[in-house]
Each structure stands twice: as structure tokens, then as C-alpha cells.
């Protein structure tokens, strides 16, 4: 094994999205919110004197678990299906943590309450700690797991991957737009108070069920800091509520933050938990069941609804719609199918579903087989090279989707897709709420009110458009997802590493038609063609099926 040079390692640290490759960061964050009235107290009164010993104790436990995992050879006994998905998850999650650390100084200058600044400063330190222990976890996987490829390049992958862009949106949400919108409403009120439950409580439980007891240790250590973050968010929210002029902005931001978190977190975590597990005990909760319990029954009813007493209207319609997406419109299944469709553009291996998986899905989501079963059978059939293309270029009754400009998850629930011409470009959105976010919320004027601090959603946001017209082999090479032999791909649509003949290489990809970005093609259409195309697209689905005329 060759050692990596110190200079190279140092170079890698700089890739930690401090200088994003995909857009030009702004130099100043302001807010359109006002804080004229209530000064809220910092309820937790954390001081560094007790903070560092507490965190040191927690870090010791994490190191102890790491040692235990090495001694117990956990990395070779864990379910491969599960650990492969960690290549994606652990490439994403340290970046939101770093973004959250960066979000705290935005609050220092915009929330005029020194009492709260201490809590925010401590949150900033928490977030750096989280990022560090998560990256250390990734390092341990890489050093000890049977197939390190994909763990070793993930900081870079995060920025330009087919799936990673979705995680990028989550990280960007913490530092995009008005400082309060980003650092307070999006990050602490919605992401941390509601969605960390699925991230840091449900994920670890699933990891443990798949033989990985190290990830739960790391993520429980992370989750135990959330109490501070939840109360930071709450104190700022109550301060904002006291100025009635903020209500319009709060209502806008709760709509945006709720919907965007749902789109991004449910897509990613839903897929990891339901398609990354080998544990098909029927008494285990499905993602939909957990979502209903934590997010709907608890967060919505006991945290959001009481805010209405302050005269705030909370987005009941979008909360109901999120549930509708998860339960009736198969949102998580549509996403998992999309991730697997483009397996070749990823940096991990996606295990085909078996009869046992089918049975579990049908039990938890009645009607699943009729929608998705056939496609997963095709995935299995096409998983090893045998004169055919990867599934994305084969006829499996699947229409490749358009990217949503806002959440960067594609427009998978076909009937919900909407289009808009913005700044001279035709954009597609996975749902009206994402169109509203881009076209109405992230604008310098909102409902007649000046909102100069809101900014806009810009940058390279459509993965396919980055590579429009490229040969697939060149795409994969450009992204760097090739193994040490220079031709075997990191990604594979199966878990069999033993037989070289079963491994896909760049040579297989050279024979494929070039990658076409549906979003570029959409902009080349005449107005009439585009209208006809849209009318047809929304008749498609479920499971990506093209409309039947």
C-alpha cells in the first residue's frame, strides 16, 4: 500500500466545500427579519468548563467503540448491502455538519441577543466535532472494509455526483438565502428539530440491525448534542415571532424549509433505510411508519401546531402533502429506483432486491410489487455484463426524469412536474412547492415586500446538464469513479467482487449512446413541443413508466 503524501492530504482538506466548485458564494449574509421586542433567555447555559469534559467523555466512548469494531472484525461481518450505501451517506453528512458550523456566525450578526450567542458558538463547535467523528468513521470503514473504493474519494464526489447533489442541497440549505431563513428556520427549526430523528435515530437503528454497531455509536454521540440546537432554534423563533412584521417571512420560510427538507431527507434516508437493509423482519417499522410517528404525530402536532397561538399559519397543506407523497405516491421507492437506474454514475455498489425484499415491501406498502417489482426484476437480470447495456440504456419501461431545479431530486412523481421559464431558462420542478420556492420565495420581492437578503438558487444544479452529450465512459472517468486498474468501475449493480467477468468496466460504457440531459433538450424545444411534452410527462408513472397513449 502506498502512503499518501502530507501535501496531498492537506490538499484534500481544502476540498471540504470551503470553496464550493458549483457556485460563487456571497460575501455578506443579512436578514429581512427584525428583532425589536422579546429577548429570550438561553435555557441551557452551557459553559466551556463543563462542555469540553462532557464532549471528551463522549469522544472516548466513540474511540472505544472504534477499537471494539476493529477487534471484533465488524467490518467484514457487516451486511455489504448496508455498508455500500454508507459510501454515499458518509460522503454527504460531514458537509451539512460543516455548513451548520458556518451557519452559526450568520446568527451572531443578525440576532441581537448576546444571551443566545453563546449557545450558537457552542453549536458551532458541536458541528465541527460531528464532522470530524463522521469523517473518522469513514476512514475506519475505508481502512477495514472489503471494498474501500468509494470511501476514498467522497469529498470530491459529493459535489458532482448523480445522487450527491441531493445531499448538497441539504448542506446548502443551512447557508442559502436570508440568514434567519437558512441558519434558523431551515437548519435548527426544521432540519434539526424534525428531520434529525430519521437521520440520527432511525439510521443507527438500521445500521445495528445490519451488523454495524460503530455507526450507532458515532451518531448517538452526534444526536445527544441536538438538545442544544433545538433550544437555540426555539429561542430565536420565539424572538422572531414577537415582531408581527416577521410573520409573513416565517410563513414563507416554514413552507420552503419544510418542503425542501422533506424532498431531500426523505429521499436519501428513506432509501438508505428501506433499500440498504437486509433485515426484513416484518415487525420492524418502515420508513413511512417512523415518519408518521416522529414527524407527523410529534413534530407537526406538538411543536408546529402550538405556534398558531402566536398568529402564525403553519403549512398544514404541505405537511399533509408530504405524507401523501410518502404513503400514496411512493416517493421513497421512486427515489431508490432512480438511484439504482443511474448506478453507473455512483461510487458504491447497489445490491439487487430479492424475493425476501419483495415480500417485505409488499407487506409494508401494499401494491408495491405491481408498481416496482418488474423494474427490480429487470435490474437483477441486467446486473452482470452479458452483451447488454446498463439498465439506464435498456428498455425497461422507464422514462429518464428531469431534474428539479430547487431540490435537485428529479421530477419522479410524474403527475406533479411543473415547468417555468426563469431568467431565460426553462426549468423543471418536481412539485408546485419547489416551483414556488425558486420562482416566488427566493426573490428580492416577496408578496410585494422587499426581501433583498433572500438571494436566489443558482449554480450548477442539474447533474445531467454538466455532462450533456458526453460518452458515459468519459463521464465516469471525469468523476473519478474508476478502480485502480484504470478501467473497472467503482460502482456495480451487484455485490459480487470475486468474478472479474461480472465487473462492469469503462469499455462496456463506451458502447452506450451519449448521455442526454432532459433539461437541455427541454430548452431546445419550441413552445408547442414543450407544452406537448409536459402534457405527456405528467401522464407517466408510477415507477417511471412512460405515458401510455
Amino acid at each position: 500500500m502506498s502512503r499518501q503524501s502530507v501535501a496531498k492530504a492537506h490538499q484534500k482538506i481544502q476540498e471540504l466545500a470551503w470553496e464550493p466548485m458549483y457556485h460563487q458564494p456571497v460575501s455578506h449574509y443579512g436578514t429581512d427579519y427584525t428583532f425589536r421586542k422579546a429577548q429570550k433567555k438561553d435555557p441551557l447555559k452551557q459553559v466551556l468548563r463543563s462542555y469540553f469534559p462532557m464532549q471528551e467523555e463522549k469522544d472516548h466512548r466513540v474511540y472505544g467503540a472504534s477499537d471494539g469494531a476493529i477487534r471484533g472484525n465488524m467490518f467484514r461481518q457487516v451486511q455489504e448491502r448496508w455498508l455500500e450505501w454508507q459510501k454515499l451517506f458518509l460522503s454527504i453528512i460531514p458537509l451539512p455538519e460543516i455548513s451548520a458550523a458556518r451557519a452559526m456566525p450568520l446568527l451572531f450578526r443578525n440576532v441581537p441577543n448576546p444571551e443566545l450567542h453563546n449557545g450558537q458558538a457552542i453549536q458551532m463547535i458541536d458541528e465541527v466535532r460531528h464532522s470530524t467523528i463522521q469523517q473518522n468513521l469513514k476512514r475506519l470503514y475505508m481502512n477495514n472494509y472489503i471494498d474501500p473504493a468509494g470511501f476514498n474519494s467522497s469529498l470530491r464526489n459529493f459535489q458532482n455526483d448523480y445522487c450527491g447533489t441531493i445531499g448538497r442541497q441539504f448542506a446548502e440549505g443551512f447557508i442559502t438565502g436570508d440568514a434567519i431563513t437558512a441558519a434558523s428556520i431551515y437548519l435548527t427549526i426544521v432540519a434539526e428539530t424534525a428531520f434529525t430523528n430519521t437521520l440520527f435515530v432511525a439510521m443507527p437503528a438500521e445500521a445495528a440491525a445490519n451488523g454495524d454497531y460503530l455507526l450507532p455509536t458515532v451518531f448517538h454521540s452526534v444526536q445527544s448534542d441536538e438538545s442544544r440546537h433545538i433550544s437555540n432554534g426555539y429561542a430565536t423563533l420565539l424572538m422572531a415571532l414577537a415582531d408581527e412584521g416577521n410573520h409573513q417571512l416565517l410563513e414563507r420560510d416554514l413552507r420552503y424549509a419544510w418542503w425542501n427538507n422533506h424532498r431531500v431527507v426523505d429521499a436519501a434516508i428513506g432509501t438508505f433505510i428501506e433499500y440498504g437493509t437486509k433485515d426484513r423482519r416484518k415487525d420492524r417499522e418502515s420508513y413511512a411508519e417512523m415518519w408518521r410517528r416522529w414527524i407527523y404525530d410529534d413534530y407537526y402536532r406538538s411543536y408546529l401546531v402550538p405556534l398558531e397561538k402566536y398568529g402564525l399559519t403553519i403549512p398544514h397543506d404541505l405537511i399533509e402533502e408530504s405524507w401523501n407523497q410518502i404513503w400514496h405516491k411512493g416517493y421513497v421507492h421512486e427515489v431508490a429506483q432512480f438511484f439504482a437506474t443511474g448506478w453507473l454514475a455512483n461510487y458504491w455498489r447497489i445490491d439487487p432486491m430479492t424475493d425476501k425484499d419483495f415480500e417485505w415491501f409488499e407487506h409494508k406498502y401494499p401494491g408495491w410489487y405491481d408498481r416496482y417489482g418488474k423494474w427490480w426484476e429487470n435490474y437483477n437480470r441486467l446486473s452482470t455484463p452479458n452483451g447488454h447495456h446498463p439498465i439506464v440504456a435498456e428498455d425497461v419501461d422507464y422514462q429518464y426524469p428531469h431534474r428539479c431545479w430547487t431540490c435537485m431530486v428529479p421530477c419522479l412523481v410524474r403527475e406533479d412536474m411543473v415547468m417555468a421559464e426563469v431568467d431565460g431558462q426553462w426549468r423543471t420542478y418536481c412539485h408546485e412547492a419547489c416551483r414556488w420556492t425558486d420562482v416566488e420565495a427566493f426573490r428580492p420581492v416577496y408578496q410585494g415586500r422587499n426581501t433583498p437578503n433572500m438571494g436566489q438558487l443558482i449554480g450548477a444544479r442539474e447533474w445531467e446538464t454538466l455532462y450533456h452529450g458526453w460518452n458515459w465512459a468519459d463521464v465516469v472517468q471525469d468523476m473519478g469513479f474508476v478502480r485502480d486498474d484504470g478501467k473497472t468501475m467503482v460502482a456495480q449493480p451487484h455485490l459480487n467482487l470475486d468474478d472479474p467477468k461480472k465487473m462492469w468496466t469503462l469499455d462496456h460504457l463506451r458502447r452506450m449512446p451519449n448521455l442526454q440531459s432532459p433539461n437541455v433538450l427541454l430548452n431546445q424545444m419550441s413552445d408547442a413541443e414543450r407544452a406537448a411534452f409536459h402534457a405527456n410527462y405528467i401522464k407517466g408513472g408510477p415507477a417511471g413508466r412512460p405515458a401510455k397513449d
Binding site: Q223, S231, S302
Partner: protein, 342 residues
């Protein structure tokens, strides 16, 4: 279900009963208390609290990151995992006093008028029986918004009673007021009204060792009456004085009932006072705040509850502060002072 034990929360002074089989967090939530929490799985530590008194607490499975052993030994606990097997006192570390009582669901309800009585020349005693739903749970001292039929206009009124099935109100009628005109003109027994609630934080903070001072005037009587009636029902023995101000004897109502509360509330004193025409009146005379000033010397160990016209509340606040009542223990209902006026 198992045995029940009392759980007292400090420094907010709220007591609830908790079944052994339920976690403290769950039980509090069912009783309308919104305690800070996150995952409810013993992992995020948002509900971490400190046990001041009591030992017999068992925890369901939790993460030792959220509650390390040394913290548990010091007395910290996780409310989302805690079952109590004796009476305990728990100090909340992370709470917002305004929000803690906001846990009761806000409901839209339809109710039928069962009584409209003139209790003075300008105060009406309105009683509504709930039709759909049949009950509306509230904390004594809270209010609901009642819709003026045929309009989108609502007015806020505090409940004067304690029944969840029959809501009682004491409403002042103003000449040309929208709700007043309706109440005195059109509304009759059998009519239906739409209402929404409960709202408000003018609720009794449990603090057995603290005296209570109530100061009320006009329709501000309603929430105080609700608090007093509920204290009588619950057998609360705290020392309490109710300073009830009115202009003339004909402006007083519910006097006999309040007097009679002394039988059920051993520590209770009632001090009605008139500011005008006190002929033939044996009681106190003057503005209610002046009466309070002459009667009390040291209120540093008291909690005060104010409800009435804004000038009364504004005059009483500095006076109570002068008499030593800590500012954070002077409670007043912002809505009743303004929302009652049409």
C-alpha cells in the same frame, strides 16, 4: 394501568399525576403540558431534566451519550424514558414558560346557548353547551375566540367556569359593540355559536408555599372566577386574597358565590371595593389598587394575577412590584384586558 404518582415540575410550579406505566413526557403531553423534547427515544437529550426530590425512577432503554452514568448519578434524567414509582420533584432545565401550557389542542367547536343572564346592568353571564365536539379541554384562566355569526369577526372571552362541557363566560356589553349588540339584541337560548380555543397563559402556577393575590375588575372577573372555582374543586389550601373592584354596588356580581368559596378554600379572603357612591356600603372604598395598597404591606412571597381594564392592570403592576412581588410572578392576561372590548 399502574399506580399513579405526583410529579411536580420546578421552577414553573406545575403538578401532574403520572401513571407508572407511562413515561413522564408522555403523561405530561396527554395532560396538555408541552415539555421540550426531541426524539422521544432517549437519544437527543432535549428532555434532560434534574431530579430534585425522589429516587424511585426507572428508565426505558436510552443512549449513554444522552445521559452518561455520572450525570444519572448526579440526578439528571430523561423525561421521555422515565417512569416514576413515587412522588417526585423535577427541575426543568430547558423550557419556555409561555409555551409550556400550550400543549392542549386548539379545537374548532360548535356550541349552543343555554343561558344569557343579566348579572349586572352591563355584564352578561353567557353559558354555552358544546355540541361538536362534546368537550373542550382548557386550563382555568384560558380563553376562546367566539365568532360573531354571519361575519368573520371573532372576539376573545375567558372561561369563568371549570366545566369542559358547558363553557361559562362573563361578558361586558358596550354600546354599539359588535358582539355586544349581538348578545343583547339577537342572540337567544338555542342559538349556535362557533368558537376556537383554548388560548392564553393566564393559568395558575402551582407553588404551595406562595400566597396568591388576585386583582380583578369588570369582565376581568371571569378568568379569576375560573381559577378560584378550580382551586375549590381541587382543595388547594394556599392563602389567597381576591381584590375585586367595581364602580358601584350595581356593578358587582357573583359576590355571594365568591363569599361562599371561603367555606371550601380555608386560606381565602374576599375584598370587594367600590370607587363611587359608597353610601350604605360597609366594605372597602376607593380604586381597587388603592385598597390593595392600604391592605398589604409585604407581598414578596406572593404570586399575583391581574385581570381587568388596562388602566387597572397598569396601575397594579408597579404597585405590586413596590410591595415586593417579583416581576416574574405577576401574571396578567393581555387578551382579556383588550379583547373584551368591542
Amino acid at each position: 394501568m399502574g399506580e399513579k404518582h405526583r410529579v411536580r415540575f420546578e421552577p414553573v410550579g406545575i403538578e401532574i399525576e403520572v401513571d407508572e406505566e407511562q413515561t413522564v413526557l408522555r403523561s405530561a403531553s396527554e395532560q396538555g403540558l408541552m415539555l421540550m423534547h426531541g426524539c422521544k427515544e432517549g437519544q437527543c437529550a432535549a428532555c434532560k431534566s434534574f431530579v430534585l426530590d425522589g429516587d424511585d425512577i426507572e428508565l426505558d432503554r436510552y443512549s449513554t451519550f444522552a445521559l452518561p452514568d455520572y450525570e444519572k448519578e448526579e440526578g439528571f434524567t430523561l423525561l421521555c424514558r422515565a417512569h416514576v414509582y413515587e412522588d417526585v420533584t423535577i427541575e426543568l432545565l430547558n423550557f419556555d414558560e409561555e409555551m409550556i401550557r400550550s400543549g392542549l389542542p386548539i379545537q374548532n367547536a360548535v356550541a349552543e346557548v343555554v343561558a344569557i343572564d343579566h348579572v349586572t346592568h352591563d355584564l352578561r353571564h353567557l353559558v354555552l353547551e358544546l355540541i361538536e365536539p362534546r368537550e373542550l379541554t382548557f386550563f382555568p384562566g384560558q380563553y376562546v375566540d367566539i365568532k360573531v355569526p354571519g361575519t368573520e369577526i371573532t372576539r376573545s372571552f375567558s372561561m369563568a367556569g371549570t366545566s369542559y362541557k358547558k363553557l361559562e363566560f362573563v361578558i361586558k356589553v358596550y354600546p354599539d359593540g359588535i358582539f355586544s349588540s349581538y348578545l343583547d339584541g339577537t342572540l337567544k337560548v338555542g342559538d349556535r355559536l362557533e368558537l376556537t380555543g383554548p388560548f392564553g397563559v393566564f393559568t395558575l402556577r402551582d407553588a404551595p408555599d406562595r400566597d396568591l393575590i388576585f386583582v380583578g375588575g369588570g369582565a376581568g372577573l371571569a378568568p379569576i372566577l375560573s381559577l378560584l372555582r378550580s382551586m375549590a374543586e381541587r382543595g388547594i389550601e394556599r392563602k389567597a386574597v381576591f381584590y375585586y373592584g367595581a364602580r358601584t354596588a350595581k356593578d358587582l356580581c357573583f359576590v355571594a358565590e365568591i363569599e361562599a368559596l371561603r367555606g371550601k378554600l380555608p386560606g381565602f379572603r374576599f375584598v370587594p371595593a367600590l370607587s363611587e357612591e359608597p353610601e350604605g356600603w360597609a366594605g372597602e372604598v376607593g380604586l381597587i389598587t388603592d385598597v390593595l395598597k392600604t391592605n398589604e404591606v409585604d407581598l414578596s412571597r406572593a404570586h399575583a394575577y391581574l385581570c381587568g381594564p388596562p388602566p387597572m392592570v397598569e396601575a397594579a403592576m408597579p404597585l405590586l412590584a413596590q410591595l415586593g412581588t417579583p416581576e416574574k410572578h405577576i401574571y396578567y392576561d393581555k387578551f382579556t384586558t383588550t379583547g373584551g372590548e368591542d
